[in-house]
Amino acid sequence: MMDFSEIVTLIVRSVETGSIYALVGLAMGIIYKASEVPNFAQGEMATFSTFIAFMVLTVHGAPFYVAFVVSLLFAYILGIAFEFLCVRRAKNPTILSMIILTIGLQMVLYGLSGWVFGTEQRAFRLPFSQFETVEIGGVVISHLGLATIIASFVLMCLIYWFLEHTKTGLAMRASQQNSMAARINGISSNRVVNLSFGISSIVGAIAAMLFAPIITLSPDLMWDPLLKGFAAAVLGGFASLPGIVFGGYILALIENLFGLWFSLEYKSVVAMGIIVLVLYIKPSGLFSKHYQRKV
């Protein structure tokens, strides 16, 4: 059996990876709540933004914070441009055609990042090292892990504050609950959806920049986190943002526990299997209410 410190270490590791999953899941959830579009392009949008940061860092030799801001700005513009140019103009906006649209963008960005930046593996460095560690209460954690946990926690708090305590956030929530009623009250639902794409793109880009140093930067950087983040969002329930965050942590914990006790090879399979099982019992995820669709 494991002793106490091992369990704590496992939990900290899970929180570390879970933060990434939660951020990607949140990014998808923000868009899904606003427009019912499951955004498959989220990962590639984030990867592309990270490439921009990488280029600013290496080619132009700018300090990290400049690259960070430029990349987030780019992510925001990418998000709103996609919404404005494609999502809004879809001829027959069913869920299926929206999924096709985002898959199309995913392909374009995946191809572009290979085409423009090359497919080789690159090292993306943050100011926080992956190899230097600190010890807090008997748990050893890398600087990067600590930064990931803190940054994602701050970001989640910011999103919560934005949605609950600002006027724009109120408009967004109103539009999500009942877009018709919101429009009657003078909220432009187009602008709300547009803003959601921008914000979600930023959240995704931050997740990608925190994840890129762990593995190397290449066009398929975000495949695994996207699937896991998507799975986390589905597990927690797409319609509930706190649910998505919990889903991310639970998914990471399940994966790590399984990887520790049984086999590393199958840990993704088991995570996916559990999600399918959960969906079978609760079709809208663990934390969100299942609405029966009416005619």
């Binding site: 999924i99 963008l105 191809g111 589905v234 079978y280």
Partner: protein, 345 residues
């Protein structure tokens, strides 16, 4: 479209002389293809395999309205079953192929179980998870060659062995033709109408007495069977299989074929599979792409990154399909047809 006055006219396989003529031309082209484009034989065979997959996926996505992003999983099951039965158990190719299709069909039932309760993004992630799980599991089963895969030697028909490219092409083309006709007949039958009713409104369909669970499961089974058969053929065509052939991007590519071709149309599957496969295979020599080839070649940094261009083009086409022409290539064909039929109005 001309008016149909009788149910029989609608279900009739070829209605009117024009359809009969074009079908005859198509069959002649299929038969003559190895002699017309001997250098492109592999590409044409691959298109044939992908047409079978697209036909099945179109029944599921285009006609029944259920999304599947894990179809590579079914293809993998079909491929591995066929190869293992042929190599280790010495079962002749036709029986092994059908066994592969049937095993894929059984997995279709397994995937349909959760799918019955899910819709939209939840169904997408469940099917996606299925495809990825199959790939990882196949790579880890001992005796299946791990990540290196297995090599395949020809089609053993029991009495004779087909190893020539032309022979394999004719087998693939024949099966694709039969399965295309079958798909068209399924769509026009009572079952097909039930699928379309479910796609248009599942609540209205169940109110009209359609057994939702039964027909959704059936749609998954048919679709998986097509994918399984195509998997077996693909394995023989390539001469080897390994788990990396069934990455989840491959599933997305199948999905792209159906969408680009035209959701819900048999002819659309054929067009989409041909177009997307052509793009994918020719990504290495971009300058051979008609009209804009030289431009694409000019824009690429070096040869290794050119595959990216194919993704960009396919992606742009997908976006354009949704924004401009929801029926895809077949929709464009329909528009041209209607334009000339009603010309000069």
């Amino acid at each position: 479209m001309d008016m149909k006055r009788h149910h029989y006219e609608d279900v009739q396989f070829l209605h009117g002389w024009a359809n009969k003529f074009w079908f005859a031309v198509f069959v002649v082209l299929v038969i003559a293809a190895p002699y017309m484009f001997p250098a492109q034989l592999f590409l044409i065979s691959l298109i044939g395999v992908n047409i079978i997959i697209a036909l099945g996926l179109n029944i599921l996505t285009g006609n029944t309205g259920q999304i599947s992003l894990g179809h590579a999983g079914f293809v993998a099951i079909g491929a591995y079953t066929t190869v293992v039965l042929m190599q280790s158990w010495m079962i002749p190719f036709p029986a092994a192929l059908i066994a592969g299709g049937i095993l894929a069909m059984l997995f279709g039932v397994i995937l349909a179980l959760p799918a019955l309760r899910l819709e939209g993004p939840y169904l997408a992630i469940a099917t996606l998870a299925f495809g990825i799980a199959i790939k990882i599991i196949l790579g880890n089963i001992p005796g299946l060659g791990g990540h290196n895969g297995i090599s395949v030697i020809g089609m053993d028909l029991g009495f004779t062995m087909i190893t020539s490219e032309v022979g394999i092409y004719y087998v693939i083309a024949g099966i694709a033709l039969v399965m295309g006709i079958a798909a068209r007949n399924i769509v026009k039958s009572r079952v097909g109408r039930a699928f379309q009713a479910i796609r248009d409104s599942d609540i209205a369909a169940s109110a009209a007495g359609i057994n939702l669970a039964g027909y959704k499961t059936m749609s998954f089974m048919i679709s998986a069977f097509y994918a399984g058969i195509a998997g077996g053929l693909w394995a023989v065509l390539l001469g080897y299989i390994n788990p990396n052939m069934f990455e989840f991007v491959v599933s997305i590519e199948y999905f792209a074929m159906v969408v680009v071709g035209g959701l819900g149309f048999v002819a659309g599957s054929v067009m989409g599979a041909a177009a997307v496969t052509y793009l994918r295979v020719n990504s290495d020599n971009l300058n051979s792409v008609p009209v804009i080839g030289w431009l694409l070649d000019l824009m690429s940094i070096d040869l290794t990154v050119q595959t990216g261009v194919t993704w960009v083009i396919t992606g742009i086409v997908l976006i354009l399909v949704v924004v401009l022409e929801p029926l895809g290539l077949y929709g464009i064909w329909l528009r041209i047809k209607i334009y000339w039929r009603t010309w000069p109005f």
